[in-house]
């Protein structure tokens, strides 16, 4: 029953998407309100059908209905219901359906929110989203076909990939990342619609910005959770490995961050508007490239699915989208009427305008560096036939100076005025933050910290805090000057300018992340310890006592766990239980590290080998890792604050950051 119903729903969703796309194009070309209304209705119908199809496969997964191809492929009668439910995104076919589902829901929300807007633009935007949906929908209905019927149905299946069963984060990291990744289709569609209609006005830009901030928040959170998953599950003591698929999520993040900055220049100064649209388009193309990287099996990565016919089809889609975007840009960009911001004026080299432009350029250079490193093994293989891999040293050498440059621009940009800054103004604005930064670096150096990059990061971080704090204080002070009570002024001041507030909160988050990354990568300790039961050892100020090893048998896996008592001096920090898990489907042992999260540093234990007689663990001590997660969350919060509408009656027209 489920295979038949599932396929019927997919076909219904595809039919509605195709009809909606045609209606959208018609609305776009003829400016027809009626066609736009049809496009909206059909989009909602398509979203409903894809949502039901996704629900249906969830039912099949949880009920272990092995007559459904996808369940037979990755389900297992011993898989607990929660893991069965999240295994929708643990393999290729299910993940493609999930892609289509999220895109359909986004398109549905866009359709609902676009009521009453200009039909041509809405029509084009819906048509583009539905075209992308059609591609993914056709893949799901045709090539990857999770709903195919298996007859006779097997009585059991192999169960999902052990690595994906190992941690609760698997339930939230992929959906969050997908919300960001797939969500980029909406700003992309809006940019294409602006180009197609030849007009970018304030209302469309506002809507574009609001969508983009949400998508950016999800993308950031998704990348962060991915790092966290890698840290908590893979047992190598790190959170970022420059794996091709990690890079695939970082690439659109970089260009999309560049877009958010160029959009500010467009709104405030009337410049970089067309550049902003190009950056959105590039960001979306990078998500398609990233999906190709994961799905084609062409890249060597911890995430990659095996080679499948989807690879060439995806490359075809990527090529088509690339060509379409280049032709659209070439044909329409000169005709684009920009109706946002003031008439473009000149700016001097020393101005906020230049700092923003430089920010965009550095972010693009960062993206180009990562892209080059990611595709270089393929380039090398194509030219010489040999195999190489590009690893951490390349990325670190190349990106650390770029990161330092970005931090420097986060001091410079908000400190300088728009248009032109005189030498006196520049000095007055920059002296306090740079002075504080210098003092902080000096203090750290006196305290014995001698790594130049860490000192530079600390100095810039302190300077950014001063600059951003000063900007936010200005908002609060304006309210105080108006006579608001002191306890209300911060709220009223910040609520009156959510964009500026959000931007500085996001900067604060980035600063926390930067400091955390520089500390955790510069001052990491690791060692291998072998202990017998009852024995203990002292390492880096921690006393680790191996209590015992035991086995925990669950239906889907057997875990051999090592129990460690951990003390810092005389203080009891509890028991850490790293384990090795053996899954029914796989002969390999999958380790689950145990992490003691502390504010200053993490103690991380990963079992190498364990039995009743002894245990060997790799121990890592990393400062600042908790701050990385915290900083990421602060950045996400900043983005969401910036997406809020300015508070009505706050008494002051918002001046954007």
């Amino acid at each position: 029953m489920i295979p038949t119903l599932g396929r019927a729903l997919l076909h219904l969703g595809l039919g509605a998407a195709a009809a909606g796309m045609i209606a959208g194009i018609f609305a776009g070309a003829r400016r027809s309100e009626e066609a736009a209304s049809w496009a909206r209705t059909l989009t909602l119908a398509s979203a409903g059908a894809f949502a039901l199809a996704t629900l249906l496969i969830e039912v099949a997964l949880v009920r272990h209905d092995f007559s459904v191809a996808y369940v037979a492929e990755i389900g297992s009668a011993s898989t607990p219901p929660l893991i069965a439910a999240v295994s929708l995104w643990s393999s290729l076919d299910g993940s493609m359906l999930f892609w289509a589902f999220i895109l359909a829901v986004y398109a549905g929300i866009f359709a609902l929110r676009s009521r009453g807007t200009e039909p041509a633009r809405t029509g084009w935007a819906l048509a583009v989203q539905l075209a992308v949906l059609l591609f993914f929908g056709l893949l799901v209905a045709g090539v990857s076909a999770p709903f195919d019927r298996v007859f006779p149905a097997p009585t059991d299946g192999p169960g999902p990939n052990p690595l994906l069963q190992n941690h609760a984060l698997m339930a939230i990291h992929p959906p969050t990342l997908y919300l960001g990744y797939v969500g980029l289709a909406v700003p992309f569609a809006m940019a294409v619609a602006a180009l197609a209609t030849g007009r970018l006005d304030a209302a469309w830009t506002r809507s574009l910005r609001s969508w983009s901030l949400w998508v950016w928040a999800f993308l950031t959170l998704g990348i962060l959770l991915g790092g966290w998953w890698s840290y908590e599950v893979l047992g190598w003591g790190g959170y970022w490995a420059w794996d091709p698929v990690e890079n695939a999520s970082l690439l659109p993040w970089l260009t999309f961050t560049a877009f958010l900055h160029s959009l500010i220049v467009a709104e405030r100064r009337g410049r970089l508007a067309a550049t902003s649209l190009v950056l959105v388009i590039i960001s979306f193309l990078l998500t398609i490239l990233g999906t190709f990287m994961t799905r084609s099996g062409v890249f060597n990565s911890v995430h990659s699915f095996t080679q499948s016919p989807i690879g060439p089809i995806f490359l075809g889609f990527l090529t088509l989208t690339l060509v379409g975007c280049v032709v659209l840009l070439a044909a329409r960009v000169d005709a684009l009427r920009i109706e946002i911001g003031p008439r473009p004026g000149s700016a001097t080299l020393l101005s906020r305008d230049s700092a923003f432009l430089l920010t965009v350029l550095v972010l693009l250079a960062f993206a180009a560096t990562v892209l080059l490193g990611t595709v270089y093994p393929l380039v090398n293989q194509a030219i010489t036939g040999g195999q190489v891999s590009v690893g951490g040293p390349y990325y670190e050498t190349m990106t650390i100076p770029l990161c330092a440059g970005l931090l420097g621009l986060m001091v410079l940009g908000p400190a300088l005025p728009w248009r032109a800054a005189t030498a006196a103004v520049t000095l007055r604005q920059l002296a306090p933050p740079l002075g504080v930064g210098l003092l902080v670096a000096l203090w750290a150096w006196v305290e014995g910290l001698d790594r130049p990059w860490v000192l530079l990061t600390l100095a810039l971080a302190a300077a950014i805090l001063v600059v951003s704090g000063r900007e936010l204080w200005q908002l609060v002070r304006a309210r105080l000057a108006k006579g608001d009570p002191a306890w209300q002024a911060p709220f009223l001041g910040l609520a009156a300018a959510p964009r500026r507030t959000g931007a500085h909160i996001a900067h604060l988050g980035v600063v926390i992340c930067a400091v955390a990354i520089s500390f955790s990568s510069s001052f990491k300790h690791e060692t291998e310890l072998t202990l017998t039961p009852g024995a203990s050892t002292v390492w880096q100020g921690y006393t680790l006592g191996f209590l015992r090893a035991d086995k925990l048998v669950e239906p889907h896996r057997t875990s051999t766990r090592a129990h460690f008592a951990v003390f810092a001096g005389a203080r009891d920090l509890g028991v850490l239980v790293p384990a090795l898990n053996l899954y029914s489907r796989d002969a390999r042992s999958i380790g689950t590290p145990a992490v003691l999260h502390r504010l200053a540093e993490d103690l991380y234990l990963s079992v190498v080998q364990v039995d009743a007689r002894e245990v060997t663990v790799r121990a890592y001590l990393q400062p600042g890792v908790s701050w990385l997660w915290l900083g990421g969350l602060v950045a996400v919060l900043g983005s969401l604050v910036a997406a809020l509408p300015p508070r009505r009656g706050a008494g002051r027209k918002e001046v954007s950051a």
């Binding site: 084609s296 099996g297 990527l318 070439a330």
Partner: protein, 171 residues
């Protein structure tokens, strides 16, 4: 039409698509084996208990050479499969372990605990590792009676693959 954008766009996209397309047909996980199909390099080594083993002396029977280490998780995982196969093919094929980047004392202690029906050789200078082009452990090489490497497995070897290759070799 803005020709500059068109030309620049195509100039950037064409090589990118070309490079991506060339990736098909290559398995990025495969490690090239230069030694496959060629005569296995000879060695004369001492095992953990001090017995000499000279590969050339084993000519006439298939040989399975497993590079391993105690610190390597997949090696530990495949140990039982290799032992079972060695027992099954006792007298018809020779099994040899070669220690890779590990302390012989640790290996001796480990094997005393888990048991082994075939010797593990110690190669202090690790010349065999270079001769066989071992990229990491475990790697298992299958030699026919003439000493030619006919099959290689990178990563833990499964029972099915062991049986299939050995059945072919002893026929």
């Amino acid at each position: 039409m803005n020709w500059k954008i068109l030309v620049a766009g195509i100039a950037i996209c064409t090589p990118l698509v070309w490079v991506l397309a060339t990736g098909f047909g290559h398995d990025p996980h495969a490690i090239p084996t230069v030694t496959l199909g060629s005569k296995a390099s000879d060695f004369d080594l001492v095992d953990l208990s001090g017995q000499r083993v000279h590969l050339a002396d084993l000519r006439g029977r298939p040989v399975v050479i497993n590079f391993w280490a105690t610190w390597c998780r997949p090696c530990v995982a495949e140990h039982a499969e290799l032992q079972a196969a060695a027992r099954t093919y006792q007298g018809r094929a020779v099994f040899l372990g070669i220690l890779y980047g590990d302390d012989p004392a640790l290996a001796r202690e480990y094997l005393a605990r888990v048991g082994s029906v075939y010797p593990t050789l110690v190669d202090p200078a690790q010349h065999t590792v270079v001769d066989y082009g071992v990229a990491g452990v475990p790697e298992t090489f299958f030699l026919d009676g003439q000493g030619v490497i006919v099959h290689k497995v990178s990563g833990a070897v499964g029972a099915a693959e062991l049986t299939a290759v050995l059945a072919e070799l002893v026929r």
